[in-house]
Each structure stands twice: as C-alpha cells, then as structure tokens.
C-alpha cells in the first residue's frame, strides 16, 4: 500500500490544478409543465430538453442514443405530440406540457403499452424502450396503428439495435386490438 501512496502523490504533484476565472453561463427563465408538475427554471440557453431532463431533473428515462435526431431513443411528448427531446431547445418550450416515460404510468398502474411491452418481451437491453413506448402511445392515439405495416411505418423513427422490432409491433398491435384507451 505504501507504493500506492507514492503514485498518487506523484500524480498530484506533477499536475497542480490551474486556477481559472469562472465565466457566467448564459441563462434564461422558462416555465414548463413536466409530467403534470409545473416548473419555473433558469436554464442554460444552450440546453436541449434531453439534457435538461437527464442531467438536471433526474428524469433519465428519456434516453440519449445519438443527440442528433436519428434514433428516437429520446422520444417524449410535447403538448401531446411526439418529439425528439434531443432536437428541442428548452428555451423554445416555454409554456409547453411535456410528458416523459416517467409520466406515462398512472401511479402504480402501468400504461397498457408498458404492460404489453412486458408481455411480449419487446426489448432486450431496454435502452431504446422508453422512446419506443412514447412513440407507440402516439401511434395508437393518432390512429396510426391500423395494421402491422402502418405501425412499422410510424415507428420507423425508433431504432432498436437489439432487434426487438417484431415484439414491439406485437405489443402495439395487441393494445390496438384490445381497444383500451391509451
């Protein structure tokens, strides 16, 4: 253990932390309703909804798979419409109502789409799952789940690298057929 001490002190001595003068981060006031809760926030004007949710608000159910609009793992609902959280600056969302995966289930009651994903094993690693479910919900709400081909077209924006596509469509189709309100 003595030797360990030598290394760490070597490192610490060799590299003193340079002093720096902090520069203020540009901020702006924004009001949002997230999962039914009203929030007034001072946010970095460069923040995306994705980084706000994940890094500031602890709502890490919204994923980051690319941060450039390609993968759908960040899908959320803004005023009821699906949207890529990575492509939306927070400051453009003043007054908007946002729903994330965390706001989908009603207390302990799973949303029917979540339950159907469980039943059909519609995921493996689970990383794309929040985005898939958020898209699936608007797919059903918007009447885009007429048949399997239509479901696939609507879900095209959501990549699942684990390849659970068939089970995802199975889940959506079942919810559609059950007629339950989503």
């Amino acid at each position: 253990m003595a030797s360990v001490g030598i290394v760490t002190s070597l490192i610490a001595e060799a590299m003193p932390l340079e002093a720096f003068v902090p520069v203020p981060i540009p901020k702006q006031k924004v009001s949002l309703e997230i999962n039914g809760k009203k929030l007034d926030l001072m946010v970095d004007i460069r923040s995306t909804l994705q980084d706000l949710l994940r890094e500031e608000l602890g709502l890490t159910g919204t994923k980051k798979g690319c941060a450039m609009g390609d993968c759908g793992s960040c899908m959320i609902h803004i005023n009821g419409n699906r949207a890529n959280a990575c492509l939306s600056l927070v400051v453009y969302n003043d007054g908007n109502k946002i729903t994330t995966i965390e706001g989908l289930s009603n207390g302990d009651q799973l949303h029917p789409v979540q339950a159907a994903f469980l039943k059909h094993d519609s995921f493996q690693c689970g990383y794309c799952t929040s985005g898939q479910i958020m898209s699936a919900v608007t797919c059903l709400r918007e009447g885009a789940a007429k048949n399997r081909e239509e479901i696939k077209k609507y879900m095209q924006r959501n990549i699942c690298r684990c390849g659970s596509y068939q089970n995802i469509v199975d889940a959506i189709e079942e919810v559609k057929k059950s007629g339950v309100k989503v």
Binding site: M1, V4, I25, G61, C125, Y165, Q166
Partner: protein, 743 residues
C-alpha cells in the same frame, strides 16, 4: 417492486423488465455524483502525424470551463509506462490506445484532448474552442488496394489437412472472392465512464462494460493499485454486442481526468465517436474454393482471408475457422493474414470471425450445390458429420438435421424452385435461401454466492453485467429449478465488481458459465442445509446425506416421510437471519470430456426481388438454433430475433465508408450508417432444438448470442441468388450492386 404494479402479465417477463418499461433502469451515464464535471473528447482531424501545438486559451475562457487535458498536461500514469514505476506491484501496460500519452495521431478521430466543464453544454463548447495544429503524415486506409500488396500483410496463420487446394481437382468446383465492410456495433447506449476518486488511491467507476471484473483489473493495473481499491458498477448495459468486451480510451481518460481535477468526471461518447473509439467488425476480404464429386461429397475446401487491424495493435479473429471443422471433408487448407491500417483497432462484434467467414463459406456451398443441381439442404446433409473435423473429436451434441427439417417446414422450402427466376409473384422474383452458423460453446470459471434468508428468499450474487440478453432472468430460472422454489423468491444481483468474480459476458458463454456457477451454488446450498439438519435436528442425526431428500426448502428423510424439517427452522435454530455459501464452478476441459462443443444455427430466408428495379424485400425469416437446453424461452427467442435483425443489417445495409483522401469515416451517424429499422423486418419465426447437451454443463445449456447472426447474411444472399440468379459477394447487398451483376 413487481408486486406494486397491476399488470396481468407478470409470470414470464424479464426480472428487470418493469424497470426498463418504466424508464427507471439506470444506465452508466445516468448517475450523478456531487460536484461532477462533464467531459467531452476533442478528436483529431488528421489520420496520422503529430500534434504540433495545442492552444487552449479560448477554450479555458469559455463559460463553465474547468480544464482541458491533453498529452502535455496529462498526469503520468504507471500503466502507460510500467518501466518508470518499478516499485509498483500491480502495474500492467495499458492495452490499446494510451490516450493523451504522447503527441502522436494514429487515426482520424483519435481523442487528442479532453474538455472538462461544469455542464454538458459548456463541455461541448469548450471542446469546440480547443485549437490544435498538426504535422500531418501520409497515411494508409484503403483496404481494398493495400491488401493486394503482400509486403503490407502480417502474420500468416496457415492450416492444412490433406492436400492444398484439393477443390481444384474435384469434378465440380466453385471459387470466388467475398468482401465484408467495416461494421459497427452501435449499441443504442453510448459508451460512458463516470470516475470518482473516493480517496487518493481508491476509485469508483460507473462504466459501460460487459465484464466488471475485467474493467476492475484493467483500471487497477493502469494505476498500480490493488484490485480491491477499484470498484466498477455496471448495473444496466444498453446493448454492446462486443464493444464493451474491453476498456477503451474513455476509461483511462475519465479516470485520469478525475484525478487531475480532483472531482468526479462523467465522459460520454458521442454517436460519431462510437464509430471508431470502441471497436468495430474489421473489413475482410476472403477467397473460398469448394469442390465436390457428382454425388455431392465435398472433396476440398480452401479458405483465405485478410482482415484489417490498426497500426498500434494486432486484432485477429476466427474468420476461416468454420471451414476447418464444420463439414465432412478430408482436404482443407486455410490462410489468414491481417493488414495494419491507419484506423483505430477493431474488436469482436457479434459472431466475431465466424459471421464473416460463414458468409463466404455458406455462399460458396450454395453456389456449388447449384452447380451440382442439388438442393442446398440435401447437399449439407450429404456432408454432415458428427465428428468435428479439425480436432476429430465427436461433438458433445449436434442436432443440425433437426434444424434443417424444421426450418424447411416453417419457411415453406417445398415451394422453392431449384432454378432462379422460375418463381414469380407479379413483378417480383421469389427466392428461398438458407445458411448455417456455428460458434464455440465453452464454459468458463465463475464464482457465485448464494444467500438463503430465513423468510425463504434466495439471493444470488456474481460480478457480471448484462447487455440485454437476459442474464438475471435466466439465472433466476436456473436457481428456481435447482432449488425447487418459485422464481419470485429469487433475486440475482450483478453489475458490481465487489461481488464474487463472474465471467465476461461474451462469446456466448454466460448461460453456460454462470448457469453452472448458479447451479453449483444452489446444489451446495442444499447440501449445507442437509449438513445443518444432521448436526442440529435430533431426528436427522446420524442419517446418511443421500437418505435426505429436499424439495422446496423442505428436508425430509427418504425412508420416512414423517421426519422432516424446513430450511426456516434450521436457520432459526442456528440463530442467524440467513445462511450463505460461495462456490466456484470450474471451466470446461474439452480434453477431459473428449468432445468438441459448439452451438449451431440454420437460418432460412424468403425474399422478393423486383424484376425491374432490383429492390430487395425480405418476406419471411425462420431462424433455428441448436444450443442445448433453452433456459429462458422468452429471452432466448428475443436473442435469436435480435441476431436475425443484426444479420439483416449485415446483409443489406451496414457499411462504414472511409474517405481515403482524409482517413475520416464519412458516414459516422445513425442517419447515414443504416441499421435495420421497423419496416425492414419481415415476420420472423424462431425455433430451438431445445435438447440438453449432456456434456457441456450440469444444466445442458449452450450459448446462442453469436449463432443468432452467424450464417444469416449467407441465407439472404442465397435467397437472392435463388430469386434472380445473381450473386453479390460484397456486403451489403444493395439493389445498385444487384443491377450491375449479370445473371
């Protein structure tokens, strides 16, 4: 947690399913530590050369900037130069890129600086403001041209059985070249590391890894620390497919930076960085020749391959291996070389080696069957063998014939026509194809702790991680079976290097290796209970152990059912709240059992190809697996589905494009590197032989993560050939390439 949710579907779901569908499952980058700094890599904009000058003045004056770390100010770490730290015991040279260790640039996009800031937004901006001047040198990235120059190739691995190039003397033979481009794992979760020095010489990492113990050892050796001073947490891994089988530059970068600024550091790769900082399937050229007699008996196989590696590490994989052992053939020769390029180092990607090799082999066999006017399945059955041809050992279990039969039935093989272009639906040619996959099925060492609580709950612990294949779900089932108690009573705890040492999740060995550990721990737990009964309960005193039965944690005398005691009574009697046992299950020694051990798969594809536009549409996929006993049906099925989807990408869309004028990957986004999406996926049927392998382990299960993709691309190519008479041997198969081929 399960119980709180009111779902009708609880019994079969994954044990971690609820957390995943509710967004509660936390992945590496989703942890927050107090006073944490955000880090972003600044990457080189030349392919080869040297950093001449780094100017960080603008970067450091940006809002929120903390520091910019680069080769000039990077602390010296023992693992970068072990010779300079002779006094340290546990130092090991860091494998791979020693990021910030010197001013050299080895590939385009190599991390050359690390921007550290108070928020992710600031870190991104700081990274952009770092100004770097380079001294560029000539570089080589063009595989297709360079592989033709023998002086550039390294390390020939030759194998000969019987005569060399015997296929050429066979009455019927085909020979052809095949190309597989660079493919990238691209798991949906990007690689990330959070590093926190809890004391001057103990460090905690949240890290995306397929093996917490391996990462622990790598970090410990990097700093010359005892392993116990390093803790790795990886509770959920958002896919990996091989990319997290080793630690890449993000690990030392985050750990060193955290030391330097004395704050926790979170470093998350960007999607473009995922294309060359965490490995990829190497580009490969292959030439295969196969020959047979008129009856379809294989007379010769010759398989040559070259794949790329980086300039700073040699990476090789088993591209030509299946050709050596899968089919009955006395004359086989193979040759495999690597070509170092100014690119980053490749690594194992799902079905490593065999996915590339079986593409070429299985297409070649299809071509030869066509030449012989034989059904491709019959041709393979003709050359079927129960003896592994390279080792000459019998297989522990091989049920390929069942896969052929069932797969053919499910895909409707009887509708297939031997001659291309004879089956048409409207403007579309219809084709059927199949391809075989094979991968080693091993069993490694694993240590598992089993804890039995007084209330009957069982907790199993091992330091493994799960990239999505469903390890915990399968292990709970193994334990439930061994102990005869309901699955709800069992919890499998993993994802932490502090737990008993578990294996790396890779090479399709988790179920076999860890399943054996769990099985052994559970059996030992039962044994312990029997010992306790003999010692503590009068009616069991002096009873022989094999006269004691145990069912659902109730022990009884096999001679007299009325003599019984429950585990709870035993634990209470001992005046403890739980009992536990730690057991190490040994690896498999194939020499000892004198068997060859493999998993097998056969994939079937029905395809439509448009007669005018050459558009390719998959219509139906059947994928069959011969991987011993299936422990967890739902998760095993999902793995096969995922392999088929990966195979569809390999066959039809996935290709990294390198701009050889700059060395830069020109399609490093998910918008331009095309992976399969919903509309590309036809109906997929999954079927397993589900026959226990009697030799591999006590549970009879083998791995199936790799065989799920191996051979798949060939099945697609073969189906397209059957439809059109056109063979595209360069992946991915596109309509543009099809248009250029003559039938």
């Amino acid at each position: 947690m399960k119980k709180n949710f009111n779902s009708a579907y609880l019994p079969d779901e994954r044990v971690d399913g609820l957390e995943k569908v509710t967004g509660k499952a936390k992945y590496t980058a989703e942890h927050q530590l107090p006073n944490m700094a955000y880090a972003v890599f600044v990457c080189s904009t030349i392919a080869k050369g040297k950093i001449k000058h780094i100017d960080t003045s603008k970067a450091l004056s940006a809002p929120g900037a903390i520091d910019v770390m680069h080769y000039e100010n990077c602390p010296k770490v023992p693992g970068y130069q072990p010779a300079a730290f002779p006094d340290l015991k546990n130092v090991g040279e860091w494998r791979g890129l020693k990021v910030f260790g010197d001013p050299l640039v080895r590939f385009y996009g190599q991390p050359v600086a690390l921007a550290l800031a108070e928020s992710i937004e600031s870190a991104n901006e700081v990274a952009k403001l770092v100004e770097i001047e380079y001294e560029a040198e000539a570089f080589e990235t063009d595989f297709d041209t360079l592989r033709k120059d023998p002086s550039k190739l390294k390390g020939s691995n030759n194998y000969v059985r019987g005569k060399i190039q015997a296929y050429k003397e066979a009455p019927f033979f085909v020979e052809a070249e095949y190309n597989v481009p660079i493919e990238v794992h691209n798991p949906m979760e990007m690689h990330a590391t959070i590093a926190f020095w809890e004391t001057a010489d103990t460090v905690l990492l949240h890290d995306k890894t397929q093996g917490p113990k391996a990462t622990q050892s790598a970090v410990a050796r990097l700093f010359g620390l005892p392993e116990k001073n390093v803790r790795i947490i990886a509770e959920n891994v958002g896919g990996a497919f091989g990319s997290a089988l080793r630690s890449w530059a993000n690990v030392p970068a985050a750990v060193i930076a955290a030391k330097k600024i004395q704050r926790p550091v979170k470093l998350v790769l960007t999607r473009p960085q995922m294309f060359n900082l965490v490995g990829y399937r190497p580009q490969a050229w292959q030439k295969v020749g196969v020959g047979a007699d008129a009856n379809g008996n294989l007379l010769g196989i010759t398989h040559h391959a070259i794949s790329n590696t980086s300039r700073y590490e040699d990476f090789r994989e088993g591209i030509v291996d299946a050709s050596k052992f899968l089919y009955k053939c006395d004359h086989v020769d193979t040759e495999y070389k690597i070509l170092p390029l100014d690119l980053s180092t490749p690594t194992w990607m799902r079905g490593p080696g065999e996915a590339t090799g079986c593409f070429a082999l299985e297409c070649s066999l299809d071509d030869l069957a066509f030449k012989l006017k034989m059904d491709p399945i019959q041709f393979r059955i003709k050359n079927f063998t129960e003896i592994q041809q390279e080792s000459k050992l019998p297989w522990s279990a091989i049920n390929l014939k069942d896969c052929y039969a069932k797969g053919a039935e499910l895909i409707g093989w009887k509708n297939r026509k031997q001659l291309p272009k004879t089956l048409k639906e409207g403007d579309w040619y219809v084709g059927y194809g199949m391809g075989v996959g094979v991968f080693g099925a091993g069993r490694g060492t694993s240590t598992v702790r089993a804890i039995l609580h007084a209330d009957g709950r069982v907790v199993l612990e091992s330091a493994v991680s799960d990239m999505g294949s469903g390890t915990a779900t399968a292990m709970v089932k193994v334990a439930a079976n061994a102990l005869g108690i309901p699955e709800e009573k069992i919890k499998f705890v993993m994802g932490d290097s502090d737990l008993p040492p578990g294996p790396m999740q890779g090479g399709s060995t988790t179920t076999s290796t860890l399943g054996s550990g769990v099985h052994l721990a559970c059996e030992s737990l039962k044994d312990l209970l029997k010992d306790m009964a003999i010692q503590m309960v009068d009616s069991f005193k002096s009873m022989a152990k094999d006269k004691i039965g145990i069912e659902g944690l109730k022990l009884f005398s096999l001679d007299n059912n009325n003599i019984s005691v429950t585990a709870r009574e035993l634990i209470d009697k001992k005046k403890v709240s739980f009992i536990d046992i730690v057991k190490t299950s040994p690896g498999l020694n194939t020499r000892e059992i004198q068997k060859a051990t493999n998993s097998f798969s056969v994939h079937f594809v029905k395809v439509h190809v448009h007669s005018k536009t050459n558009e390719i549409q998959l219509k139906h996929v059947v994928t069959t697996g011969d991987a011993g006993k299936i422990i967890s049906e739902a998760t095993a099925r999902s793995q096969m589905l995922g392999g088929a989807v990966g195979g569809i990408g390999m066959a039809l869309t996935e290709e990294v494009k390198v701009d050889h004028s700059t060395g830069k990957i020109s399609n490093a986004t998910l918008g331009s590197y095309i992976v399969p999406r919903h509309t590309m996926i036809p109906h997929i049927d999954v079927w397993f032989t589900n026959k226990p392998d009697p030799y591999i382990n006590a549970i009879g299960a083998k791995g199936l993560g790799e065989i799920a993709i191996i051979g798949f691309a060939a099945a697609v190519s073969n189906a397209i050939f059957n439809a059109t008479g056109k063979r595209v041997r360069d992946l991915p198969i596109t309509k543009e390439k099809l248009a250029k081929v003559k039938a």
